[in-house]
């Protein structure tokens, strides 16, 4: 091992053959490493060798680089001449000969080897103590697709991919601001995974960025294969069932978070981007809330809040009512429940646990099974659980309803990691209420509540803005206020001054509508800088007007025609 490191730290030798030997010894037993030898077209005819890894490079790019290095044409003959005379061969190739957009000069073997493994192409030339790294990253990539885990009805359909550059580009496409920063670092001693920390300067609190970077730099691990590796190592409450880091596949969600003063962490090779800090409520909010009418948005948000409460508490409440507090059930309902349970041989708690586990089994099996067989699971599941189990007298029909309701509710929570954590904390609640009744339920609920209140996410209270109560942030909690009303950024942003200066939209005054539009176009005309656009707008207004007139005349003509016809008819009758 030390032998390898020694070799890696070595500087490049002037003799190409020694260099080639060292690289070969480092990269031996690798079928996918390609070595290509060529001669420069200058007077000396220096020998050069190119190394790259097949599959992670774009072969076209490599070929273009080779073309630059091997051919002389009238266009670059001067350049070739200069390389012959200049002492620093690599530098002059970089500046004069190569067309590659990001060619770099490498001084050590280590840089070169890393370049090769990252998907670039490393070129060494005889009589030069420096090598060249041509960017050649390429290979097969998944294209941008609709995110599988977070779908919306209205809203952008693009989702992150495994390629980090594509991902940052998707966000940059949304925020074209000079203040948007994408800082890079590399984590994982073996995987050398690229990590990008993104934020908007001026909006984000600087201390937050510092904290994120500090926590990331503390990570020492050999490999990072998914963003959860990082999530677990930067979490504030490592043992908590609640997740304090938001993960998302949606670039629009990341963009929105950046605009609120949060920090996004991109990890290469995974479509899941991390967003910090995250509040509890963020996991219950979907992008749809903001893309639909605010009334609709508020309504569906409430549906989700209710779904959360149902999926957390309904099984426990049913169990505690039927096995401890029968006097709390309305009489008619109590009779119905009792009649359904008449022949059930198990206690309610056991029945509930069995049903919950069967449900989880079905969900897991449906997920793991190959898609064509997946349907079979649901058929078998619904038949066995929904009918046969009830008919056989093993579970009561009420319990089936309760478990189904719980399942459906937990699926309507938009963030799947949050829905998993709710599923988890349901079980202690269920056991507590099945053994101690309402007392156990309340005790366990309070334990969970105290825990949730106590944890923080990157300095932000987890349950904010509900508790601690932040009056300014209430505009985006229970009710999603209309966009023209959300004038400030959330309190976690450094710059929570005015975000927008819109007034409530209203139609122009009735009487002056025509003159108002004229005024606008007049103003535009007078503004010398915007003449062309104003003209365009004017033209479009004109076009619209003429269209309207045309439509009117057509209508009039139709009317006239009808009338004429009628006249004709009446004349005929006479």
């Amino acid at each position: 091992m030390s032998n390898v490191e020694q070799k890696m730290n070595q500087n490049l030798s002037r003799n190409i053959d020694t260099n080639v030997k060292v690289i070969q010894s480092l990269l031996k037993q690798n079928d996918d490493v390609v070595e290509r030898t060529f001669y420069l077209p200058n007077q000396q005819g220096n020998k050069g060798t190119l190394f790259y890894v097949e599959g992670i490079v774009d072969t076209d790019k490599i070929e273009r680089a080779l073309k630059d290095l091997m051919y002389t044409s009238s266009a670059n003959s001067n350049a070739v001449q200069t390389t012959s005379t200049e002492s620093n061969l690599a530098m002059s190739i970089q500046t004069h000969m190569s067309h590659n957009s990001s060619v770099k000069v490498a001084n050590t073997l280590q840089e070169g080897i890393n370049g090769i493994l990252l998907g670039d192409c490393f070129c060494i030339i005889d009589q030069s103590e420096q090598g060249l790294i041509f960017s050649g990253k390429g290979g097969e990539k998944r294209s941008v697709e609709e995110p599988m885990a977070e779908q919306v009805v209205r809203g952008p359909r693009d989702g992150f991919t495994e390629d980090i550059r594509t991902n940052t580009a998707l966000v940059r496409r949304r925020i074209r601001d000079v203040h948007l920063k994408v800082e890079g670092l590399e984590l994982g001693t073996k995987t050398k995974t690229t990590i990008n920390v993104s934020y908007i300067n001026g909006i984000v609190k600087e201390s937050l960025v510092e904290e994120v970077k500090q926590r990331l730099n503390k990570i020492e691990i050999d490999g990072i294969l998914e963003s959860n590796y990082i999530e677990e190592m930067i979490r504030d409450a490592p043992y908590s069932p609640f997740s304090t880091v938001l993960n998302t596949e949606r670039p629009d969600k990341v963009a929105a978070a950046l605009l609120e003063g949060r920090v996004a962490i991109f990890v290469d090779n995974t479509p899941f981007v991390l967003v910090v800090p995250a509040h509890f409520w963020d996991f219950l909010q979907a992008s749809d809330d903001y893309y639909l009418n605010f009334l609709t948005g508020t309504f569906i948000r409430w549906v989700r809040y209710i779904a959360f409460i149902i999926s957390l508490t309904i099984p426990s409440i049913y169990v505690l009512l039927t096995s401890f507090h029968q006097e709390m059930i309305p009489t008619a309902l109590a009779l119905t429940i009792a009649s359904g349970r008449e022949v059930i041989p198990f206690p309610v708690l056991f029945e509930a646990l069995v049903m919950e586990i069967i449900f989880e089994l079905m969900r897991e099996a449906g997920l793991r099974m190959p898609k064509p067989i997946g349907q079979a699971v649901s058929i078998v599941g619904s038949l066995i659980i929904g009918q046969a189990a009830v008919q056989a007298g093993i579970v009561s029909p009420f319990m089936v309803i309760i478990v189904a309701l719980t399942g459906i509710s937990s699926f309507s929570i938009p963030n799947f990691s949050a829905s998993y954590s709710i599923r988890l904390i349901r079980f202690p609640l269920l056991i507590a209420s099945g053994t101690l009744g309402l007392l156990g339920f309340i005790g366990m609920f309070f334990l969970l509540a105290i825990h949730a209140v106590s944890i923080r996410s990157f300095g932000e209270s987890y349950l904010a803005p509900a508790t601690p109560f932040k009056p300014k942030d209430q505009k985006d909690l229970l009710i999603r206020f209309p966009w023209w009303h959300m004038k400030n950024r959330p309190e976690l942003a450094a710059d929570n001054g005015i975000r927008e200066a819109n007034e409530k939209p209203a139609p122009p005054d009735k009487g002056n509508s025509e003159t108002a539009s004229n005024k606008i176009s007049d103003e535009m005309n007078s503004d010398a800088n915007t003449t062309s656009t104003a003209n365009k707008k004017d033209a479009s207004v004109q076009r619209k007007k003429s269209k309207r007139i045309k439509r009117k005349t057509v209508k009039l003509k139709d009317l006239m025609k009808d009338k004429n016809d009628e006249d004709q008819k009446s004349q005929d009758n006479e």
């Binding site: 029968q326 009489t331 109590a334 309610v348 009830v390 056989a392 099945g434 101690l436």
Partner: protein, 406 residues
């Protein structure tokens, strides 16, 4: 941190396991009582004992098949009874008979036999208030019949008698044949220094025809509302009939509906029916020469729903006449009830003491000790205005035109 977590987990496990589900009883291990009947019986030694009858629902029969097929007997209720010196003693004896734990919280109704009620119901009030399993919103009633029989007779469309008695009370504001007396009201009235308790009265009546053999005539017994039981302290002193109860309810409940039948002016046999829509009572207490005095301002509005008389709703004269007839009739009814309550029973069940206390608290302090005596001496002035607001869908009288043609 990890040790703390382990400790917490172990602590939880110990708490859940060692308590071993204390107090747990599954809903299907309960015998849910739907109604309680209390009778007075004599034992072999000639001592008086309480007989408690519990009407217990069989869920599988009361609801039909909801899950897996379960044994159904076709009998939605199961009635059992036991006697002992105290109610609780009898209830404990009931447990001997029952395969499931008897659960009282869902009881709809408590029926007390009048003989028992005459001896005093203090122990009953105490027991049903003290017991944590029993609800304060249970209906309390008295009956001249056997409470055990009444509790176990099937009534109405419901399969559980308790439920049908609950239904009777639910819609009692249309018939107004009995007050809506719940345990909580009885308790409050018993504790109060100003009012005396009253409860609804139930009776068994045979008035249901068999579907198969209607020619046999009425054969099934039905529970009906039959007025009010009037208490002095905890002892039943008398009853008001269903008709008298209507006037009583004017004082103690919000009236939403009622029916009054008035003979026509032209022909005594023909009648006009007046449906009460809204009735308002304003009590103005006063104090004159050592006796309390009450002015009762009653405002009645209603509509004409049925008439044999030739009254058109546009006929102002006749409508006025009708209104004054109604006023007269109402006044007579109210005075009759007032006389009965004041002179015969001598108990204030009208909450007159309360309104007197509100208006004249200083005088009340002098009178509260012997309020029932003062109540007997009190004078009531009844002032009624009746108004017929609509003739429902008809304005013209329903008259055949054939006669006019002859």
């Amino acid at each position: 941190m990890i040790r703390k977590l382990y400790k917490l987990v172990i602590l939880m496990a110990i708490m859940f396991i060692l308590t071993s589900c204390v107090g747990k009883r599954e809903i299907d291990d309960l015998a849910m009582v739907m109604g309680v009947g209390l009778d007075l019986v004599e034992n072999k030694n000639g001592e008086e004992e309480v007989k408690v009858t519990a009407q217990i629902a069989r869920p599988a029969d009361a609801r039909g098949q909801t899950g897996a097929p379960s044994g159904q007997t076709g009998e939605p209720i199961w009635s059992i009874s036991a006697t002992d010196k105290s109610i609780f003693g009898a209830i404990r004896k009931l447990e001997n008979l029952s395969s499931r734990r008897i659960f009282w919280a869902h009881s709809y109704v408590i029926v007390i036999n009048e003989d028992l009620a005459k001896n005093g119901i203090k122990d009953i009030i105490d027991f049903f208030i003290r017991n944590p399993e029993l609800r304060m919103r249970t209906w309390v009633t008295v009956t001249p019949d056997d409470a055990s029989e009444l509790v176990s007779s099937l009534t109405g469309l419901e399969v559980i008698p308790g439920q049908s008695i609950e239904g009777l009370f639910k819609y009692s504001d249309i018939t107004r044949a009995a007050p809506r007396s719940q345990m909580i009201d009885l308790h409050a009235a018993y504790l109060s220094d100003a009012t005396q308790p009253y409860v609804a009265r139930l009776k068994l009546e045979t008035n249901e025809l068999s579907n198969q053999t209607p020619e046999q005539g009425e054969m099934y017994k039905n529970v009906t509302h039959a007025g009010t039981g009037v208490f002095k302290d905890d002892k039943l002193v008398g009853t008001l009939s269903a008709k008298e109860t209507r006037s009583l309810l004017l004082f103690v409940e919000n009236i939403k509906s009622g029916v009054s039948i008035i003979p026509c002016a032209e022909n005594e046999e023909d009648v006009t029916t007046f449906e009460l829509v809204h009735e308002e009572l304003k009590v103005i207490p006063d104090y004159k020469e050592g006796t309390p005095e009450f002015t009762l301002k009653v405002k009645t509005t209603g509509k004409l729903v049925e008439t044999d008389c030739a009254i058109g709703f546009d006929d102002d004269q006749k409508i006025k006449e009708l209104e004054s007839n109604i006023e007269e009739k109402f006044k007579k009814d109210i005075n009759k009830v007032l006389d009965k309550i004041q002179q015969e029973y001598g108990v204030d069940i009208l909450e007159a003491g309360n309104s007197f206390n509100n208006k004249l608290p200083s005088k009340w302090k002098e009178m509260r000790v012997n309020w029932d005596d003062h109540f007997q001496d009190a004078t009531f002035h009844v002032d009624i205005t009746a108004e017929i607001k609509s003739g429902a869908l008809l304005i013209e009288p329903t008259e055949s035109n054939k006669r006019a043609d002859e």
